[in-house]
């Protein structure tokens, strides 16, 4: 099995008057170890696609296979488990807990998949080393730069050893230097065999990916 995920003729329609079609017949395949960028202007359906890919939302019609398993017919609980264990999220605004140390924030990854705390700690230390923040364990996120915060968030996503790293505008809140450091980190992760899917509107971010897919008005081109 070479595909991490397959979207087949996926539609997502929001009930309104008139109904809003956010995704229309989307077909998308992502191979294991691939670095894919999805680009599109705001309002093009990027966020909806992210939610569907991240198992946070269910398509109105079509099929979504994640590691070969059909997710559209899964029970909510099973889908939640899959999301927690196989997908790592990286958000534009980091979503770190400001009152918890860097190490504790990273340890949150895998909290809901039943990994013992000792194991999560070992993995968190390893993940922080991987993103180059091994010396910042005791810091609170408020004392870190934007780039460092995003690297902490990436470390948190890596803790569970996910099949897919799903990044939503990962550099949207960062300046040039920090953007470069995060993109360098993505290259390192790619080289180590991770599957990366980056949603962005920034052409320089998309340039670094192996493959670019454009989404306009809910359609992939």
């Amino acid at each position: 099995m070479t595909y991490v995920l397959e979207l087949i003729a996926v539609n997502r329609v929001f009930p309104a008057d008139p109904p809003v079609t956010a995704l229309a017949g989307v077909d998308l395949r992502v191979r294991r170890g691939e670095y894919l960028a999805i680009v599109g202007p705001s309002g093009s359906g990027k966020s909806t696609l992210l939610n569907v890919l991240g198992l946070l939302d269910v398509p109105s019609s079509g099929n979504y296979l994640f590691e070969g398993a059909e997710t559209t017919t899964m029970a909510d609980r099973r889908r939640t488990e899959l999301r927690g264990s196989r997908i790592g999220f990286v958000f534009q605004s980091f979503h770190l807990l400001m009152y918890r140390s860097v190490l504790e924030n990273v340890m949150l990854g895998g909290l809901y998949t039943g990994v013992p705390a000792a194991v999560r700690r070992t993995r968190a230390v390893a993940a922080l080393d991987r993103v180059g923040l091994g010396h910042r364990h005791r810091f609170l996120p408020s004392r870190l730069s934007g780039g460092e915060r995003q690297r902490v968030a990436i470390a948190r996503a890596l803790v569970g050893d996910p099949a897919l790293l799903l990044c939503d505008e990962p550099t949207g809140n960062l300046d040039g230097a920090n953007t470069a450091s995060v993109l360098d980190l993505f290259d390192d992760l790619r080289a180590a065999g991770a599957t990366l899917l980056v949603i962005t509107h920034d052409a320089t971010v998309a340039e670094r990916a192996d493959r670019r897919v454009r989404i306009t008005d809910g359609r992939i081109s």
């Binding site: 946070l56 999301r83 999220f89 605004s93 979503h95 949150l108 895998g110 809901y112």
Partner: protein
């Protein structure tokens, strides 16, 4: 910006988050309610306690004499018997009277003119009394005087009217020596009663009171039906036991005695009043606390929208989110319970030290307080936890970071 616009903005702000507004208002409602209740209930309880103590200091005893079984049967209490009671140590006044049986009041009118257009006859209770009635019932005289032993001995046909009876008969002055016709027999009015001090003898206000000898002659009121005794302070219980024997040595059990309550049972009643009041106040404070926890937890949930979304994205189920917030509010309640119980015990000890009392602390209650606090926190966290669990991760992640 106009004041009206400001008000519009404020009101729409209040209406924008109904659940939060309701919780906040509920806190204020219960808080203000507590304040009003505290003042109201303490005044009420104070009144209740005062009422009980007033009843305690009351020194009035009333003995009800049963109606003789047959027409020729000897009276249970003879007219000389009250004199026996008067000699008991502790009795300050005693009066005895016969009265028209209940529902068989006699027609009384103020003059003899027959005027078919007016109703002149009033049906009033008629009493044949001993001359000591004002002292024994703590009645004052609004006008004139009460009859004395001479009137009784001479069987004089004189009458004293209760205040309401005088008003109904249209008598306001007695210096012109008015007369009343009781069932056709004329009596000279020599006095009008003012207020009657004893609350259990208010019937006197509506009555026509005659010397018992004169009443016996013409009106056949029968033997003594009621004996009213006023005692010295603290003697009421003793006299209540002795009076029946003095009044009717043959059958003291046949008399019905109304005596003021026993001081021991009274103390218990007052203690129950006070602790009941304090219990209510404590429970109300607990409700205020619960509403506070609910409100703060709800605000926390709204503030931590992004965190909830993040946790959901990392594989937390709705149940995990609900349990987290329930636990948080339960822990707050538990901590509050522990600190509250400790502070309460310290307060009892401190008060005891100041007042030089021996502190008494209910160990079970002190041990259960943290649990009660935890329970309050759990209940208060139910709604916010439900709100947190209902959040969609999609929406939550777009919230503030």
């Amino acid at each position: 910006m106009k004041v009206r616009d400001l008000i519009t903005e404020a009101v729409s702000g209040v209406g924008a988050r109904p659940a939060r507004t309701v919780l906040t208002i509920a806190g204020v409602v219960v808080g203000i309610g507590t304040l009003v209740t505290t003042l109201g209930v303490s005044a009420t309880a104070g009144n209740q306690i005062a009422g009980r103590f007033d009843a305690a200091t009351a020194t009035g005893i009333t003995v009800h004499v049963p109606v003789p079984t047959g027409k020729d049967a000897p009276p249970a209490v003879s007219w000389s018997a009250p004199g026996n009671v008067a000699r008991l140590n502790g009795v300050t006044a005693i009066a005895a009277w016969s009265r028209t049986p209940e529902g068989r009041d006699l027609p009384v009118r103020a003059n003899a003119v027959r005027d078919p257009t007016r109703i002149l006859d009033r049906l009033l209770p008629v009493l044949g009394s001993t001359e000591t009635l004002p002292a024994a019932t703590r009645a004052s005289l609004a006008a004139g005087r009460f009859f004395d032993a001479g009137h009784v001995r001479r069987r004089d046909r004189v009458a004293v009217l209760g205040a309401l009876a005088a008003e109904q008969l249209g008598l306001t002055r007695i210096d012109n020596q008015p007369a009343v016709l009781v069932d056709g027999t004329a009596f000279t009015v020599i006095g009008i009663l003012g207020t009657v001090g004893r609350q259990d003898q208010q019937v006197l206000g509506t009555a026509v009171i005659l010397p018992w000898t004169a009443a016996d002659d013409g009106l056949d009121l029968g033997p003594i039906s009621t004996v009213a005794i006023t005692t010295a302070l603290g003697a009421a219980q003793l006299i209540a036991r002795q009076a029946p024997v003095a009044l009717d040595p043959n059958d003291p059990e046949g008399l019905e005695v109304d005596a003021p309550p026993d001081p021991a049972s009274l103390r218990g009643g007052v203690a129950r009043d006070v602790s009941g009041l304090l219990l209510i106040l404590g429970l109300v404070s607990l409700i205020v606390g619960a509403l506070g926890i609910a409100n703060v937890t709800l605000v926390t949930v709204l503030e931590r929208t992004a965190e909830i979304g993040l946790r959901r994205a990392m594989g937390a189920r709705r149940r995990d989110i609900a349990i987290q917030f329930l636990l948080e509010s339960t822990v707050i309640g538990l901590l509050g319970g522990i600190v509250g119980a400790s502070a309460g015990i310290l307060a009892v000890v401190a008060i005891s030290v100041v007042k030089q009392w021996t502190p008494v602390v209910d160990g079970t209650l002190a041990a259960a307080s943290p649990l009660v606090g935890a329970l309050v926190g759990l209940l208060a966290g139910l709604y916010p936890a439900m709100r947190a669990a209902r959040m969609q991760p999609v929406e939550a992640l777009r919230g503030p970071s």
